[in-house]
Every structure is written in C-alpha cells, then in structure tokens.
C-alpha cells in the first residue's frame, strides 16, 4: 500500500512470473549462485521515493561488505504481491522478503516459509529497542517475531485543498457533522467534496476504518480480528456503515469515483487541481503531491489533519490507522550463510542514520525513536512533525484491515466494501456477508 501503483504492468509481470517459474522448474533456482559465498537476494517495490532509498541502503551495505553482496530485484506494487507469493510457494523466495506484515506474514508463517527472529532480537536488543514499539505488532504472529520492521510509519490523513475552502468560505471540518454540512456547500460550487480512487477498493476501506474507530472505538474491528462470532453486526458497525452510505448518497465523493484508481494517482490529481476539496489518503501521498502538484504543496495550499471525531462516538480522536511500518522477513529456505548476511543487513544497514535522513528528506517518518530531533530545518518540517505527532501520539495505531486479515478474508472484505460503496448492498447485507468469513 505504498507510493504510486500503476496497473498496466501487473499482467505483464504476473505473466513473467509464470514463465520465470516454469524456467526454474527442475533446476536449483537462483539460490545456487549465492549459497557458497553468503550473497543474499532481496526483492522490493519500485516507485519514488522509496525505491531510491531502498537501493541506496543496499548499495551502502554492498560497499561495506564486498564479500557478502545483496542482489536487489524491484517490482511494481501489485505485481509484487502476486509474484512474491508464487515464488514463496514454489520454494524460490528471495533471502529477504519485503512485506506489509499482518495477515500476509501469518500465511507465510503458517507454511513455515519465514525465519523466526524472536531469538535474534533478544540477542540484539539494541536493534529492537531503537524502533517504535508499535511497529512490532504486525511483525508478531503467535507471540513470536517473524519480521524486522523497517522504513516508515504511514498513518492515513485527511488532506484538504485550502484554496477550495477559501472559494466556499468554509472552515476545515471539526466533526463528522461538519463533513456532512460541507458536502452541499462544495457541490453547489461544482467542487467535489471528496476525492476517492474507489476502484482500488482499499481506498474505500480507509473510510470505514476511521468511522468504525470514531463511532465504536478500536474494539469493534478488534473483535473481527479476534474471530468473534457476528462481530460485524455490532450496532456501532452498522451505524458506521450507514453513515458511510449517507455520505455517498449525498454525493460526498467525486463523480465516477468507483472507476478511479489510486495506482494512477488520479485521486491526488483531483485534490491538487482543485476539482475536489478533501481526500482521505495515506501519508505516502504527500511526497507525490509535492512532486506532481506544481506549487500545491510548496505554496502552502495543502492542509492536513487527523480524521475528525463523530458526535457521540466512543473512539479516541487521537487514534489513527495505516501502516505502522513495513517488514523484512528472512526466507526459511535460505542457506545459513544467506541468513547470516540478511541479519547483518538488518543490524547494520536497515534504518541507518543515512537512510533515516533520506526518508525525512522525502517527507516521511522512519520508525526510529528520536528522529523528531532531525526534523528541524527540513523543508517539510511542519508536515513531518504532524506525522510524527500523529503516529507517536495515537492511543491506538491500527493496522490497515486488508493487511491485518488473512488474504482470503481480505479479498471478501474488499469485494463487499466495493459493493457497499456502489450502494448495491445494504449495511445489513454487508454485515451478513462479512460475518460468514470471520475467523477464516
């Protein structure tokens, strides 16, 4: 769920994965070359700014360790999800597996495909203690740590276009009621109240994540996650789903939102071109709006805030959702020498001071404690402090639902969310459909 996603490479890469696997069949695969020397392989995502920073980290490690090189291969976001799964299933996984933790990681753990790092973290407590404690939740399965948290914390943020607000003479919303009141005002001026890349489905999901939390508190989704029977029928859940459809029916979202993809960054373009006034999106979009939006960010036209409270709701307004980090796992099929190289990479290269500076320069907060002292003087200081404050000040930092749940449950979830947003199912039907897959 990071940076830009583009769809059109998906198929070519997915097809390439199939051909690649067929070609590997019967041979020892890519591992044979590195087995003797301890050189490791590492797959990660393309797209600025993360790709360049990941590549720089690998380069630094390779320069410092000429005998144990790491070979990097990059993939486009959605293609990677399929490719890495296929490779792991075929026993051809890279040594270092980049991922999102949570339910996806659990499926690797259940198949005994990733290394248990609990013991290693106990021995190297310095590596563990410098990271945000909240980042370890999605790396932990059954009380054991299976991944090294890395990169940045990415809360979901409510962005707004200040120019659009000036045009209608309105103030940013302080509550859900304000949001509903703003909708007709913007529509009257032919500005869409909210931009949304609805075809990507997880973009719709972010709305529900916040509404569930603000109305019923973090316990509502936690019950789903814990596998409680009929957890989706919680009255707070039904209320959140009903409020969601109210906003859709009031034309709260840009016309045609269900055919807009987040992959193409068209949803961000709607915000910075002023066609939409607000957008709920991940903190990773700040960087791309700064580079693609002309003077939108540099000229101070972009506003941002945490999702406002819902009147009478139980959730703490400091709560947030998103990605508490990204995750690096080690393939259980790797040789001992490869695993040693990967661990050395984790301990010495991942989130080094140099890498942290690059992340901050790109407008992101690495998951390392005390980086707030590095923020002063940065060109994005106000934004960085806001993200740091949101992430560190959140009472509950919930992981994105589709990442937290198993891939099977996540697919049903996204499918039903798309139908809910299409108004083709009611909140009650949504709850019934979702109750059936609880615990799968």
């Amino acid at each position: 769920m990071t940076t830009s996603r583009r769809t059109f490479l998906r198929i070519t890469l997915a097809a390439g994965a199939g051909v690649g696997l067929a070609a590997c069949g019967g041979t020892s695969g890519p591992k044979s070359s590195g087995a003797a020397t301890g050189s490791a392989t590492y797959w990660y995502l393309t797209g600025p700014p993360g790709e360049g920073i990941r590549t720089d980290t690998v380069k630094r490690f390779n320069a410092a360790n000429p005998k144990t090189q790491i070979t990097a291969t990059t993939f486009q976001n959605d293609a990677y999800k399929t490719k890495v799964k296929t490779a792991i299933g075929a026993g051809q996984a890279p040594t270092i597996i980049w991922g999102w933790g949570g339910g996806g990681l659990k499926s690797y753990v259940d198949a005994n495909q990733v290394e248990d790092l609990t013991g290693w973290f106990a021995q190297n407590s310095a590596v563990k203690d410098r990271l945000f404690p909240s980042s370890f939740g999605a790396a932990t399965v059954g009380g054991k740590i299976y991944a090294m948290p890395c990169e940045t914390v990415q809360p979901i943020v409510l962005y707004y276009n200040k120019t659009a607000f000036e045009k209608v003479g309105a103030q940013p919303p302080q509550s859900w009621g304000d949001i509903m009141d703003l909708v007709p005002k913007f529509n009257a001026k032919n500005i869409a109240p909210f931009s949304l890349g609805g075809q990507s489905r997880w973009t719709n999901m972010m709305w529900l994540e916040f509404l569930f939390d603000r109305i019923g508190g973090p316990g509502v989704f936690q019950a789903v996650f814990d596998g409680e029977k009929n957890a989706w029928s919680n009255p707070a859940a039904i209320q959140a789903l009903t409020e969601m459809q109210k906003l859709i029916k009031a034309n709260g979202f840009i016309k045609g939102f269900s055919s807009i993809t987040a992959d193409s960054n068209a949803d961000q373009a709607l915000l910075y071109t002023g066609k939409a006034a607000m957008m709920l999106h991940g903190s990773w979009t700040y960087g791309s709006m700064a580079t693609q939006g002309g003077d939108f960010v540099s000229g101070g036209h972009l506003g941002y805030m945490n999702f406002p409270p819902v009147d009478g709701g139980k959730g703490d307004p400091s709560d947030t959702v998103g990605n508490p980090g990204q995750y690096l796992s080690i393939s259980a099929k790797a040789t001992a020498a490869e695993k040693a190289t990967a661990k050395k990479f984790f301990a010495t290269a991942v989130l080094s001071d140099a890498e942290n500076k690059e992340w901050i320069g790109a407008g992101a907060i690495p998951i390392v404690k005390g980086t707030d002292s590095l923020l002063a003087g940065s060109k994005d200081e106000a934004w960085l402090k806001f993200v740091y404050g949101t992430a560190s000040g959140a009472k509950v930092f919930a992981q994105s639902w589709d990442q937290a749940l198993s891939p099977t449950a996540a697919e049903v979830l996204l499918d039903n969310i798309a139908k809910l947003f299409q108004l083709s199912i009611s909140p009650q039907q949504y709850a019934d459909n979702m109750n059936k897959v609880i615990g799968t």
């Binding site: 269900s258 099977t408 697919e411």
Partner: protein, 305 residues
C-alpha cells in the same frame, strides 16, 4: 483443438496407400498440446479436490472446493456476466466484421489503404488498449472533460450498465479487425462465376450479398463465431486492467473470478474448480457451435460450379 487429431488421422488413412502415413505430422502438435494443455488441465482438476493457499502444503479436501464454489452466489453472477459479454460482443462483432470483410475483399487500392488502418487495433496489446481507454473514459480528466462534451463525460466505468457496455465496445473494437480479416479471406474464396451468373440473372448487389455471399460464408461464420464465443470466455487482461471487475462486481467475468479467488484470496482449490467449469463451458460451446454449423466435410457448397 478438439478436431485436429481426428481430422489429421482421417487424411492419413485415406492417403496411406499412396504416399505413406502422414499421421506422424500431427505428433509435434499433439506432444505440445499434451504437455501444455492436457497435463496442466489434469493438474487443475486434481487441485480442485484439495485445499491449498498457494504457499504451504497441499491438503486433500474431497468435494469441499466444489461445494463452496457451487454454493457461492458469485458463480451464477459471473456466469451471467460472462454470457452477457459473450452474446453482446458476438452480436456487435459479427455483422460489423462481415460488412467490413466484404468491403475489404474487393481489390481497389483505396480499400487496401483503409484495410491497413482498420487493422491497427490488432497490433496493440489488450493491456495497452485498456490503459488507453481507461484514460479516455475518465470522467474528470478524460475525453469528455477535455473536449467539454457533456454526453461523453459519463461515469463510463462507474455505472454497472455503462461499464458492461464499455467493455463490450472495447472488446469489439479490438477484435473486429481480426474477424474482418477472416471474412475478407472467406469472401475472396467465393468463385467469381457465381456472381457473374447472378448478374446475368439480374440480381442486384444486395440480392447477391444475401443469396451468394452470406450462404457461402457459412463455414467462415461458424469458425469466426467459435473463436469469438470461446475467446470471450477467457477475456481477462482487458477487463482486469479496465475495471478490475467493478464497479462492485458488474463486470466480474468467470476468468476474473478465478484469478481473484486463486491469486488474491489464496484459495487455489475453489479457483481450480472455477477453471474446470470454464473449460467445460468452453468445450460445450465449441461442440454446440460445430453441431449448429452442421454438415460433415462431405457437404459441398460448390455444386454445379
């Protein structure tokens, strides 16, 4: 696919006495077909009786996958959408392809130039076509918004019916050139003498088209329709990139359903069951069309010529 081995062996036996058997000529194709068609198919059939997430071990699960697939309300819906796409794209493509094919069959130079233009969509990959159309149909940044044409700035891919219509239109746009090519070849095979005879009898152009061209194209129509119908079962790339099955599940065809079940929800067992259903439907349709097309090789359309 189903006819190739039989047809080849028949030719082989009838000519065996004179030139020696040529059955062996079918062997490379047969070996290829078995290795890359039959074997994976058997693998998929086997997988449909298992529980597998694509990563871990494969567990036998009896009829569990079949039961869950057949009970899922998504299956009849996906079948319905698949047949809608199939029928409408056939109904749009066939008349258009026949007309263009007949038009291009004449040998005037300007028609040759037009033929080159008509065949351009054939050169493009489905993914590229989908990306291009997605950009053109975008309600906020697309063609309608750019040219300020109200009727073009519909929510093309965001409304159930419009999205299905857009898919059918784009599929037709992509494949009409291919089928026109088939019809062009078919029309050029029709003996000139038939038209000359018709002209002597005083038949006009339209009468010639209905009484000579169309009946003579019977087998071409059957072949082209088989390709369209069976091909439309496997539409995946274009729809996946264009709408990803959306909005909701309005354009979620069977092949897309299979991909989502297998590679997004990690349910390889049910996905394999859907794949088997897809194969069976395809086979049934191909056989049906052959039956409808009628006639063995002994029927002649050239009696008296």
């Amino acid at each position: 696919v189903t006819t190739a081995p039989g047809g080849a062996s028949r030719t082989g036996t009838s000519q065996a006495g004179r030139t020696g058997s040529v059955t062996w000529m079918a062997l490379p194709a047969l070996a290829f077909f078995i290795a890359f068609g039959v074997v994976p198919l058997l693998g998929v059939l086997g997988l449909s009786f298992t529980r597998w997430d694509g990563i871990g071990a494969i567990h036998p699960a009896g009829f569990d996958s079949w039961r869950s697939v057949l009970k899922d309300p998504g299956l009849p819906h996906a079948l319905y959408v698949t047949f809608l796409v199939m029928i409408f794209s056939w109904a749009v493509q066939t008349p258009a392809s026949i007309l263009i094919g007949v038009f291009l069959a004449s040998r005037e130079r300007y028609r040759g130039v037009l033929a080159v233009l008509y065949f351009i969509p054939l050169l493009l990959s489905s993914a590229a076509i989908a990306v291009a159309y997605k950009a053109l149909l975008d309600p906020n940044f697309g063609l309608g918004a750019g040219l300020h044409l109200g009727f073009l700035s519909q929510d093309w891919l965001g409304q159930d019916k419009l999205a299905l219509g857009a898919v059918i239109f784009i599929v037709s746009w992509q494949f009409i050139p291919f089928h026109s090519l088939i019809y062009q070849g078919g029309v050029r095979q029709i003996p000139r003498s038939m038209y000359e005879a018709a002209e002597i009898d005083g038949a006009g152009r339209i009468r010639q088209f209905w009484s000579i061209t169309l009946p003579q194209l019977k087998y071409t129509i059957v072949a082209s329709s088989t390709l369209m119908v069976v091909g439309s079962l496997t539409f995946f790339d274009l729809i996946f990139v264009l709408t990803a099955g959306g909005p909701g599940d309005a354009t979620s065809v069977l092949a897309l359903d299979m991909y989502k079940t297998g590679f997004q929800a990690n349910l390889m067992g049910p996905a394999s069951a859907i794949a088997v259903i897809l194969v069976l439907v395809g086979l049934a349709l191909a056989l049906l069309l052959r039956r409808v097309g009628g006639g063995g090789a002994s029927d002649s359309q050239l009696e008296g010529v």
